[in-house]
Symmetry: C2
Subunit: 241 residues, 2 copies
């Protein structure tokens, strides 16, 4: 079974099941287990961190339930808290794996760029009050596109088989006080989007020149990239299969 | 002194000070009192209810503080929880009263109109899953514009000197799954926007014909208007002086 999910990550310790912490995966598994009467384990496309949101997470699980697939979202939602919702359910193709089968994922990182903080956006955007040169940020963004070793944009000490990822698209869009960074890639290293966003902010402040980004990528040096921005600006928008 | 305010009303019992309940007015007064060392009383332009938000509430208060007016937002914000923020401060004109001096106020009511609920919008929009005829709603909206006795669109038993209000503008805008109702009037009766929004939903369902709205207004009969929609969809957008 394949599920489309939206959640507000504010009150969770991320997607992945942990001891002694409430996670999306655990709450979802309990809800599905309760309605099917089976012991359910779900696999998510992206392991979002604490405070990170999803508008289009995808998960899969095995079940023998007789609940018709079109009724499943309503049934599961009736057991979920209101900060997690199933937005669609489908019978998954044979061998489908939410993460491994994914061709690409799209994340957004939202910056609230205005003089004073926004209470209404406090959990959904990173507040940054200094003026940003968006044109410079857009120029820098182009350097990320393509297949690169993104070691410089990975939390240090993360275990990873290969640090090479293919970025298909990186767009920056200013909508009044919001700066929305949207990035599509075939996969993401740990904290990759938050470090890329932090690096783009440095470019917007002219602390890093747009052309310097190519050399930071080549260096593989985490120290040369920008800060890891906080989780609340990050949202898993959709997964492409 | 005149303040521009934004707040997330989710965790408050509305604007107005109450015994035994946390309100925006009280929290704001405590913050300003703490930084000025005076006993501060603020007056708000709109008395938003529990769960109602403001992107542009205006408040005024008297002070002898020596804190420069341009530093005041930062000083007050340093004492406010992150669901309330001052977004601007000005020396108010002589005799300024945030509510009485207001020429008009603008509210939005947001409906999330999609098959499944949205966790990310659960505190900021009213979830309504059935299809709505937006063209019919737009036609009905025109009947509200103008000076009318809005008794049919007021919570029963509200004390009021005159139930006549002038609606300058009522617009309905569909943006993907969101339906945004924006209404500007010289003043609002108690629950007026939430009852107008509830009536427009009935029109969208063809339970009330667009042309019937004029007769509901004339009747002054609260029973004939729609339901009072829940508070989380409502937001005080701005106050016009």
């Amino acid at each position: 079974m394949k599920l489309l999910l939206e959640y507000d990550g504010t009150n969770y310790h991320g997607w992945q099941r942990q001891k002694n912490s409430r996670t999306i995966q655990e709450v979802l598994e309990e809800a599905i287990s309760a309605i099917t009467g089976e012991k359910i384990r779900v696999t998510g496309a992206g392991r979002t961190d604490a405070g990170v949101h999803a508008a289009g997470q995808v998960a899969n699980f095995k079940t023998n339930t007789r609940i018709p697939v079109e009724k499943l979202p309503y049934a599961i939602n009736s057991r979920l808290p209101d900060d997690i919702a199933v937005k669609g359910a489908w019978v998954a193709p044979e061998g489908f794996h939410a993460r491994i089968s994914a061709k690409a994922k799209v994340y957004s990182y939202t910056i609230y760029n205005a003089p004073f903080p926004s209470p209404l956006l406090r959990n959904y955007a990173y507040f940054f009050p200094l003026p940003l040169d968006v044109d410079a940020m857009k120029e820098a963004a182009n350097h990320f596109v393509g297949a690169h070793d993104f070691s410089a944009f990975m939390a240090t000490g993360s275990p990873v088989k290969s640090p090479v990822r293919q970025v298909n698209r990186l767009e920056i869009d200013r909508r009044q006080d919001l700066l929305i960074i949207e990035i599509e890639a075939n996969g993401f290293l740990y904290n990759m989007v938050r470090i890329i966003a932090g690096t783009l902010v440095e470019v917007g402040l002219h602390k890093i020149e747009p052309g310097e980004v190519a050399s930071i990528i080549r260096s593989g040096d985490r120290e040369r990239a920008g800060k890891t921005l906080p989780p609340q600006g990050l949202c898993l928008l959709r997964v492409i299969y």
